[in-house]
Amino acid sequence: MNFRAALTVCLLGLAAAALAGSAALVFAAAAAILLLAFVRYARLHVFDGLEYARTLSRGVSAWGGEIEVTTTIANRKWLPVIWLRVVDQWPASVEPLRTVMRRSYKATYLLDQALTVRWYERVRRHYAGRCAERGVHRFGPASMEASDPFGMTAVVDELVGSAQLIVLPKVLAVPELELLLGRPLVGAPVRRSLARDRASFIGVRRYQSGDPLRAVNWRATARASTLQVNEWEPTTTAAVKLLLNTRVHEYVHEGTGADEIELLLVVAASLTVALGRLGWAVGLASNAYLSGQWGAIDIEPSSGSEAEILETLARVIALPPSTMNEVLRRELAADAGTTEYLVVTAGLHGGLAPQLARLRELAPTHVIYVGAVPEQARELIDWCIPADFDWREQDDLPLA
């Protein structure tokens, strides 16, 4: 709406009415001018003191977990905002719960809120969503649209801020982990040193059969009414490094293999958590690309590194990376020490097989292959996971 033109017309009308001596038309022109003035004032000041904020209940969520998104709109002025529309971008990978949202052309949901905000009022709305896809997801940017009560003209304010949510890969149970490592049952405790570093106190836990009596924490026992023992870091920790190859196809034109990459990430995440629970120091090296980060993925095995690895896996983007050769070359050149390797891959192309064979000679190495195992490389593969494994519906990782 061109206010200047409209005002000019109204003023001309006022002059004409005054010249004609028609007070009724003067009244009409005056009402139109006042209406325009009000609309203009409301349009100019409608966003004064108006704030919009969006907060997430957590920044990192497990796959399938629920999050709460809170939008806050505050109007810090006396002029009420009679109608306000806030359209916020909601990532498509977070399914909205108990509410219906339409899709935008950007393949995101649109959180469309229409409301009124009175003088000095704050409106908070809590929405729930389920994290259905791994990755780094962004809420926002948002846009606010408001105007005068009559809605003659709308004013739009673009809000550039966004909130980030990291959804970790789905973690499955790995029942055959001990078998995978080749040290079933009794062998597992051996992976950790029996000697404990008394300077590295971790905490207390419930007494288990076989715990030394001198480890009992009598104060904690008195508080909990059950036997509690101290736990310290072992002086030495067995380490395993996951080598994750996300290059699914030999050639880029064959596709990205997004589904296979997701399965590879689920396998890697499940192994990380399972190994970490057993007390292994876990590391990760991969040729994958990360969202918002450039450079090779190389996390050295250390105790408690599972969270970092899972977050790294969450950041992986499904793009075909370069071959795994550089990663393997680096590992072959490094002094592995007591570190074992667990290779997770969906292909052995690009000269990967000979390097794996060399790695096997240098350090204990296990290869988990996702998909149909090629005949010529059968002797290199220890375990196999079918490519059509429906990890979204299953809770255990099958190792065949």
Partner: protein, 485 residues
């Protein structure tokens, strides 16, 4: 669009209604019918034409059927306009027939346009602006041709109200249509806000229009006074009724406790009968029509708003039976106590400002003259003269204007240094005269007149008036200008 009935029926109806006002005024002016009849005929024709276009757009009828229906409507409308005129006048004027045909065509064309138009807020605004301009031009033309033919006030008010409601409903439909279906909490506040702002704008516009016509100010004040008197009557009757009930209850309790309060005696005399109400001549000007139509329009608007609010509330309840899908919390950033504190602070500041203003501008001329005298003393201070304790104003002024008095003061200041206070002067007593202190010439006469005026303000029972204050001020300026230095 989630509210097709609201869009198609309410908005199309409002569009037709908006177009009908200026068309009816045009018909009344050109075809010499009554405004009410023309308005009814135009609304029916517009709605019918819009309905034909709407059903065609929905695909319920073919284009040919729509054309036949439109042509039939055109013929019926022309017949309804021409036949009664021919019967009444027994002549078929060429000009009238051409006007009727053109008018019928215009009505059908605009009705079909209203039915075809997408009810987007931007298009509604463009339509409202166009209709506003057309209404204004038609009314201006009507006023120039025959001011008594078309009553402009109801058309103006109705056009404004309809346009505002149409725009608001159009935006409402647009917002709710794209937002979540259940987010309808804004409706009630929106309706109230639109109604309040519209009423305020109309009242302010009426006030502005009143400045172009002196009669209207009287009319406004009179109508406001009448309204306030009626309102006060209602409040007073209500309070009296409550007081009666309360008194009866107290009496009943008192009787229960065996207490016999004294009976109230009826007041004799003139209090028993009310003084006769003065009879006012009825206002028959255009302003009276304006306020009459404004009042009617406001009542109609209030009813329409209330009806709309109820309908929308029912619709909202019907659609909000399920969970809203989100939890909403509303709170205020400032409390009522904060508002009261802020308002109290502002009120206090305003009162203090008013008090200062009252202090600065005395309403009593005697006080004003005494302030003028104090200003004179302050004006004389830079010349080195100050009034000594126990010295009368007359003696001080005469001494101040006499060369001897000023010389003595200057000498005293020279001895004490430039930073010293002005030397106190004053000779003689209440009987001091210009001759006694050696003050002569115009300065002496001025000092004498100033002293006389001051004494009148200070000691005389009659005091002074505002003209004396003005004269004192002028004399003070003259005296200060006449004195050297």
């Amino acid at each position: 669009m989630t509210s097709p009935w609201l869009e198609r029926i309410a908005l199309k109806g409002l569009m037709c209604l908006l177009e009908s006002y200026w068309l009816a005024a045009l018909a009344t002016m050109l075809l010499l019918g009554s405004l009410g009849a023309m308005l009814g005929l135009t609304v029916i024709a517009l709605v019918t034409a819009a309905g034909i276009a709407l059903v065609l757009r929905e695909g319920w009828i073919t284009e040919k059927a729509a054309q036949i229906a439109s042509a039939t409507l055109l013929l019926v409308l022309m017949t309804l306009l021409i036949v009664p005129h021919v019967r009444a006048t027994e002549t078929a004027l060429f000009g009238y027939t051409v006007g009727a045909v053109l008018f019928s065509g215009l009505v059908v064309w605009l009705g079909v346009g209203a039915g075809r138009t997408r009810a987007a807020p931007e298009e509604l605004l463009a339509r409202a602006l166009r209709v506003g301009v057309m209404t204004f031009l038609v009314l201006l033309l009507a006023h120039q041709l025959d001011p008594t033919r078309v009553s402009a006030v109801p058309i103006v008010v109705a056009t404004l109200l309809t346009a505002v409601v149409m725009l608001a409903v159009g935006r409402l439909v647009a917002v709710i249509g794209v937002a979540e279906r259940r987010q309808r909490r804004l409706l009630s506040f929106w309706v109230v806000a639109v109604a309040v702002v519209t009423v305020l704008i109309l009242i302010a516009a009426a006030g502005l229009a009143g400045t172009f016509d002196s009669k209207i100010i009287t009319a406004v004040v009179g109508s406001l006074g009448a309204g306030l008197r009626r309102a006060w009557d209602v409040i007073a009757y209500g309070l009296a009724a409550l007081a009666y009930v309360f008194t009866r209850i107290i009496y009943w309790f008192a009787q229960l406790l065996h207490v016999h309060p004294p009976r109230l005696q009826r007041a004799p005399g003139p209090l028993m009968s009310a003084s006769p109400r003065p009879k006012l001549a009825p206002n028959t000007g255009w302003d009276a029509a304006l306020y009459r139509w404004l009042g009617r329009a406001l009542v109609v608007f209030a009813f329409v708003s209330a009806a709309l609010w109820f309908v929308l509330k029912i619709v909202r309840r019907a659609r909000e039976r399920g969970d809203e899908g989100f939890i909403e919390e509303r709170d205020y950033l400032i409390s009522a106590a904060d508002v009261a504190r802020a308002a109290g602070g502002k009120l206090r500041a305003a009162m203090q400002r008013i008090a200062r203003l009252r202090e600065a501008r005395p309403r009593d001329p005697n006080e004003a003259l005494r302030r003028e005298y104090r200003a004179l003393e302050r004006g004389l201070a830079p010349l080195g003269v100050a009034r000594a304790a126990g010295t009368t104003a007359r003696a001080f002024l005469l001494a101040a204007v006499s060369p001897a008095g000023r010389t003595g003061a200057a000498a005293a200041r020279q001895v004490a240094g430039p930073e010293a206070a002005p030397a106190a002067v004053g000779v003689g007593g209440p009987e001091a005269s210009p001759a006694a202190v050696g003050a002569s010439g115009p300065a002496g006469a001025l000092a004498d007149a100033l002293a006389t005026a001051y004494e009148r303000a200070r000691y005389s029972r009659a005091g002074v008036d505002w003209s004396d204050v003005e004269a004192f001020r002028a004399a003070r300026m003259q005296l200060l200008a006449a004195l050297p230095g």
